[in-house]
């Protein structure tokens, strides 16, 4: 019920903005073609805004569609979308004056891969959202599961479900959660170098270099990505080389250090199920520990790697 109510409020807000010509475009979600799947929608008229919705499948980070936009734009934004928007405003990719943020507090999106696993890969035809539980239905089965168990890992780890900045808030703010403990990153750090290398080699043997991770990431917006450069060619183009696959991801992750909002868009986009957040979160953890900084959590802080203080820790300098 909560979701339907939010959907109606989003629709009303968007229609009003378009009718009053306060914005030229509303970027939000429409009902997708798969069970519990939202799909990005670009509404330019009140009629088109009628298709807007909100559900537990609105998993894409819409900040990705907002860079270098002409005209006034409104966006339906969850906590993670807003963090990316804030980071992009600081990087002059989004003009805050031309963006209207319809903030939606988010308690997490459902991971269809987890749903599929739960039902043993059977064809899911419908997912009924009952608040704290969902009923997963197929041809000859129906299974009830707790929403909390099916959320994306990124949503389970998320501490910023409430938008940190907005022009209008839909629904009510959610209670704050405790600190992220980065348990799985600490576990990975505790492994030997050989174990870590072996794990990464196994993960990146799955990579098909479709670049869905990069393209789904709101912070990956280089006009020419280093992997796409052909003169010179920085990296092998063949997906058969695991080292090249790791190199691609490592460079991508380092480039997003201090900028990554840990929205998990990369991992959700990956068709091959690679544990990409292991790398992105390692950097998120490092930046937090070194500089006590998190990307996009307020409008004031400068991005961690775009600023300098004399007492910045320098643990990477080897002391003799």
């Amino acid at each position: 019920m909560r979701m339907q109510k939010l959907a109606a409020q989003i629709k009303d807000a968007a229609k009003k903005l378009l009718e009053e010509k306060k914005v030229d475009l509303v970027v939000g979600f429409a009902e997708g073609s798969l069970p519990l799947r939202g799909t990005p929608l670009f509404a330019r008229t009140p009629e088109e805004a009628d298709k807007l919705t909100w559900n537990r499948g609105c998993e894409n980070n819409l900040a990705n569609y907002l860079r270098k936009r002409e005209g006034k734009v409104a966006v339906v934004a969850k906590g993670c979308d807003v963090r990316s928007i804030v980071a992009l405003v600081k990087e002059n990719q989004i003009n805050r004056d031309n963006l209207y943020i319809i903030g939606v507090p988010c308690s997490g999106m459902i991971d269809r891969k987890k749903v599929n696993q739960l039902v043993g890969g059977k064809d899911v035809l419908e997912i009924e959202d009952n608040g704290d539980t969902v009923v997963i239905k197929g041809k000859d089965f129906s299974e009830t599961a707790r929403v909390a168990d099916l959320l994306h890992n990124s949503c389970q780890d998320c501490r910023y479900g409430n938008p940190v900045v907005y022009d209008e808030l839909i629904g009510e703010l959610l209670p704050e959660k405790g600190e992220d403990d980065f348990a799985e990153i600490k576990e990975f750090e505790a492994k030997t170098a050989a174990e870590r290398r072996a794990y990464l080699a196994e993960e990146f043997s799955k990579c098909i270099r479709c670049y869905a991770c990069r393209n789904a990431c709101p912070m990956c917006y280089c006009e020419e990505c280093f992997v796409d450069c052909s003169t010179p060619q920085w990296i092998g183009k063949s997906a058969a080389d695991i080292q090249d696959n790791i190199l691609f991801q490592a460079v991508r992750v380092f480039h997003s250090a201090g900028r990554c909002a840990d929205c998990g868009a990369c991992e959700r986009a990956c068709p091959m199920g690679i544990n990409l957040r292991l790398l992105t979160r390692k950097l998120v953890k490092d930046v937090k520990e070194l500089f006590n900084a998190e990307a996009g959590v307020n409008m004031e802080d400068k991005a961690a790697l775009a600023t300098f203080t004399a007492d910045d820790p320098e643990p990477f300098l080897v002391k003799e």
């Binding site: 997708g32 073609s33 798969l34 799947r37 939202g38 799909t39 990005p40 929608l41 670009f42 894409n60 990705n64 569609y65 891969k113 599929n116 696993q117 890969g121 064809d123 035809l125 041809k139 799955k206 098909i208 270099r209 479709c210 670049y211 869905a212 990069r214 393209n215 789904a216 020419e224 796409d228 052909s230 060619q233 092998g236 183009k237 063949s238 997906a239 058969a240 868009a265 959700r268 986009a269 068709p271 091959m272 199920g273």
Partner: protein, 339 residues
């Protein structure tokens, strides 16, 4: 003929001594076609594999030749893979995709030795689809859950056994050599019943689509239809019929090799000219090309739609860009049929 499911591993083990045998194997939460060393590795009830079967014949990265230049001159090696193969557990949509790719790699103008040698040395054993997924639409694009096009043998799952239906002479020979028992009338009836009950409920109407694509290259619909597409290569790489490739030289000093890699029309490097000009410079042109190539150019060239309705692109698109919806939008658009 009929073979019980219990006998399949030992049947595959026997094949492994004479052939390279490929079958779906479990990799995390999905299956992939891999060469197997033991018959028990094959996972035959896992639906369609994550990646299509094309990668066995047209690998994502393939060394076309290697070279080595010394004072004595240049030495060139062009290995062609002519090992005998059996691909076991192919779904009918994937098998049909190979008959479409045959048009590209074996036509009047060009015969590709790498692809063709593999094709000619491979026996394809298919398994029909008893319960097609909701994203499957093979019957809308000239296929079907028990379609035999491209297959040498078709297995029909009747519960504890597979009823074996030879399609080609190669398949018949393989089945006879394996010594499968004859299927009783009851077995045959069970297979017929399974086929009858396998319903592909999703229909995609392609009526009039080609006529529209013939004239709508400049239609404003292309300005909007691609809008949510991220421009990644997930749909093209997971597509059993996408076949665009890029050839690169990997060289260090005097040694090198020429490699053919899958390319994707979604990428900015796709059709980038040496001059720096790209006729498909934005996502709009690239997405249009994907649709045009499948539903117009391929039809113009080979009289077939380059889509087998496997649903991989639907299930795996990061933003739920659903080809069924896109085609319906195009069909429903007011394309200027008179221009």
């Amino acid at each position: 003929m009929i073979v019980s499911k219990k006998e399949i591993p030992s049947f595959l083990d026997k094949l492994i001594s004479d052939y390279q045998v490929f079958a779906p194997v479990q990799k995390g939460s999905y299956t992939l076609f891999k060469q197997i060393c033991s018959g028990t590795d094959a996972v035959l009830d896992g639906g369609i594999t994550k990646l299509p079967v094309k990668e066995i014949f047209f690998p994502q990265s393939e060394k076309l030749f290697s070279y080595n230049v010394t004072n004595e001159g240049a030495k060139l090696e062009a290995p062609v893979d002519d090992r005998k193969k059996v691909v076991f557990g192919v779904r009918p949509c994937d098998a049909r995709s190979l008959t479409l790719l045959d048009n590209v790699f074996n036509n009047d103008k060009y015969q590709d030795p790498y692809y063709l040698t593999r094709r000619n040395n491979t026996i394809l054993v298919g398994i029909g689809c008893n319960s097609p997924a909701s994203t499957c639409f093979c019957t809308s694009v000239n296929g079907g859950p028990f379609d035999t096009k491209g297959l040498d043998l078709l297995l029909v799952d009747t519960g504890d056994a597979y009823v074996v239906e030879p399609v080609s002479d190669k398949g018949k020979e393989l089945a006879e050599k394996a010594g499968f028992a004859a299927a009783s009338d009851a077995d045959k009836a069970a297979a017929a019943k399974v086929k009858e009950e396998a319903v592909v409920s999703c229909r995609v109407n392609t009526d009039g689509l080609k006529a529209k694509l013939d004239v709508n290259f400049y239609d404003p619909i292309w300005d909007r239809i691609h809008e949510k597409c991220l421009g990644c290569g997930a749909c093209t790489y997971l597509c059993p019929t996408c076949h665009c490739f890029d050839i690169v030289d990997d060289a260090v000093d005097c040694n090198g090799c020429r490699v053919r890699n899958w390319d994707s029309c979604a990428f900015p490097l796709f059709t980038l000219h040496g001059s720096g000009h790209n006729p498909r410079s934005t996502n709009k042109e690239r997405y249009r090309n994907r649709i045009m190539h499948k539903f117009k150019y391929f039809v113009d060239n080979f009289n077939e739609i380059a889509c087998v309705g496997c649903g991989r692109c639907i299930k795996n698109c990061p933003v739920n860009m659903d080809i069924r919806v896109v085609l319906e939008d195009i069909r429903g658009s007011e394309a200027r049929l008179d221009s």
